[in-house]
């Protein structure tokens, strides 16, 4: 019973392979991480799963329906996306942004119902942004803003949540808090999470399974302990890497081996 199936997918842009024959299966309810160096194809994979990019060949199924055959509305009900640097216009209130997550569920001229409002409120409570409701989005800090977009994604009530490097611009405190929210959401709502992530230690701690990709190809796939090994990472990232167990839970921590 797989939630997301990626089968033999190829993406060619301007004559070069961005994604080269990738197949992945993401199980229902797991947190699946994709790691890899810059330009390895992580973001392309995210866009493929979001239905924003159609593969040149291959098939992507979410809940057994092909993502490229769905209408934007159907896609919005199935998959929620938090992009790497969400765009926004100044002046919009946090509330307006979060409630727009209900859009896939609403008809063209349909107003938000009480239930829609409650869904949005709950989502905001879960990521602790309800008190920011009336603030203009541009007045928030980076971490608060990221939580607002997370709340918007939750408001979509989709069963799949896709995140593209959700922590990349945040300090360590916000990084961990965002990841904790994601973990909580995943566990309590049985939402399948697909996350493209830079920080290998964070990936190692929070993900159930990880795929390491490079140059559009899957190098390794499996549990963090299996995928995060010194030899492969050192080779792919081009720097000497050592793995140490975390003092608390022994999850693999990836640290560079400094030359001195």
């Amino acid at each position: 019973m797989n939630k997301i199936q990626i089968q033999d997918v190829n993406v060619v842009l301007n004559g070069s392979d961005i994604v080269n024959n990738i197949s992945l299966e993401i199980k229902k309810g797991e947190i699946f991480g994709v790691i890899g160096p810059n330009g390895s194809g992580k973001t392309t994979l995210v866009r493929l799963l979001s239905g924003l990019l159609n593969p040149n060949s291959g098939q992507i199924n979410v809940n057994d329906s092909s993502i490229s055959n769905l209408s934007a509305k159907e896609r919005g009900k199935l998959v929620a996306v938090v992009s790497q640097n969400p765009e926004y216009s100044p002046g919009f209130k946090v509330w307006d942004i979060v409630i727009s997550g209900r859009n896939p569920h609403l008809g063209m001229i349909q107003r938000e119902s009480i239930r829609d409002v409650m869904v949005a409120k709950n989502a905001m409570e879960r990521v602790d942004v309800l008190h920011l409701s009336d603030r203009s989005i541009e007045t928030l800090s980076g971490g608060e803003r990221q939580r607002v977009f997370l709340a918007r994604a939750l408001t979509q009530e989709s069963s799949v949540l896709i995140l593209d490097e959700p922590t990349s611009n945040l300090d360590i405190g916000y990084q961990i808090s965002i990841m904790e929210y994601i973990k909580e959401i995943n566990q309590n709502s049985e939402i399948t999470v697909f996350i493209a992530i830079h920080d290998l230690s964070v990936a190692g701690h929070y993900c159930d399974r990880i795929a390491l990709i490079n140059c559009g190809e899957v190098i390794n796939i499996g549990t963090p302990e299996k995928v995060l090994n010194e030899e492969t990472l050192s080779m792919i990232y081009g720097t000497n890497i050592i793995i140490v167990p975390h003092p608390n839970d022994a999850s693999p921590m990836v640290v560079p081996k400094f030359n001195n």
Binding site: G76, K77, A80, V81, F92, K93, S100, S133
Partner: protein, 350 residues
């Protein structure tokens, strides 16, 4: 913790809209009473009542007054409302869609393109109306959409539209259309040159026929745009996020550009080029009440209508018996007011 609920927020907006619609109606009615020729208010009322077939006309009222009220003032007031509303709504749509505060029917070249389209019809032997179809307006629309399409295609790379390029291309296309229009004018048969005076903008020649010709289209497309407030809000998140949020981005863009361009072009085809409203009205609403397009679109339209109505009232009365071009008044009244609003909100990001 106090959280405002969506419902109460929306109710407030609806109240504001109803209030300003009321003001617009009131001003429209009052405007019928003012004009270059002074007609007592009671006679104006009587003329309207008699025209609506409610009672017959008082013997004491001269025929010329009936014409002035019914065939000059009322069509002109309706035209001012339609044109002000349409230009402001188009401006709001372009600004929202292209996510650029400078986008307005003039800057992105639509108005100039529409002017060129209409001018081509006027200098050639093409009929202005053909079997009931408003050829002049349609030609204006073709010119307007040609201009916007041109700017759009130039600024599009892959599936991204570079907004800076779009505006720059719009300015270039607009200047080119303006130059073409100018060229056609100076090379036109001297006999049709006076016909082109229409291009400079103004509502002095408006008749019932002009209004009846365009009003069905204006009503249809102004209504369509109203339904797209929420979608336009979501487009503020960028095309990718909007798509993830269930918006069919390409279809939405086509529908909105088409609607705004029709609104602009059809208005241009009867009133010529009246500037400033499309740019300023949406900004005033945005600065006063925020950028929510569900509210912004109708309110900008209402504000534009009120603004053009007042401007035209000035244009037709202030120098009586002479008239001054309404474009002069819109700039003269609008620019200082806009600057004041900008100054008052100078700490606010646009």
């Amino acid at each position: 913790m106090v959280v405002k609920f969506q419902n109460s927020y929306r109710l407030g907006n609806t109240t504001i809209i109803i209030f300003f619609v009321g003001i617009l109606l009131l001003f429209s009615i009052l405007a019928v009473g003012f004009g270059s020729v002074q007609i007592p208010p009671m006679s104006v009322v009587q003329i309207i009542i008699s025209k609506l077939q409610i009672s017959s006309l008082d013997q004491g009222i001269p025929n010329s007054w009936v014409t002035i009220v019914w065939d000059i003032r009322i069509p002109r007031i309706i035209a001012a409302v339609i044109a002000g509303y349409s230009l402001a709504v188009s401006g709001a749509v372009y600004q929202g869609l292209f996510r650029n505060p400078l986008a307005d029917p003039y800057l992105i070249g639509v108005a100039s393109g529409a002017g060129l389209g209409a001018t081509i019809v006027l200098v050639t032997d093409v009929p202005v109306i053909w079997f009931g179809a408003p050829i002049l307006s349609i030609a204006a629309f073709i010119g307007g959409s040609g201009a916007v399409l041109c700017g759009y295609l130039i600024s599009r790379t892959g599936n991204r539209v570079s907004l800076g390029t779009l505006i720059l291309a719009g300015v270039a296309v607009g200047s080119f259309s303006g130059a073409m229009t100018y060229f056609l004018m100076i090379n036109a048969d001297p006999d049709v040159k006076p016909l082109l005076a229409w291009l400079m903008g103004g509502l002095s020649g408006i008749e019932w026929d002009d209004i009846l010709m365009i009003i069905p289209y204006i009503l249809i497309f102004a209504s369509i745009v109203l339904f797209y407030g929420r979608t336009l809000n979501i487009l503020q998140f960028g095309e990718q996020d909007a798509s993830s949020l269930g918006v069919d981005v390409e279809r939405t863009k086509i529908i909105l550009i088409l609607s705004a361009t029709i609104l602009t072009s059809f208005v241009v085809s009867i009133s010529g080029l009246i500037g400033f409203i499309g740019l300023v009205a949406p900004h005033i609403i945005r600065l006063l009440w925020g950028p929510d397009n569900r509210f912004l679109i109708p309110m900008a339209g209402i504000m534009g209508a009120i603004f053009l109505l007042i401007a035209d009232l000035f244009a037709r009365t202030i120098a009586s018996p002479a008239e001054i071009p309404v474009g002069l008044v819109t700039a003269f009244l609008g620019a200082p007011f806009f600057l004041y609003i900008l100054f008052r909100n100078r700490y606010q990001v646009i």
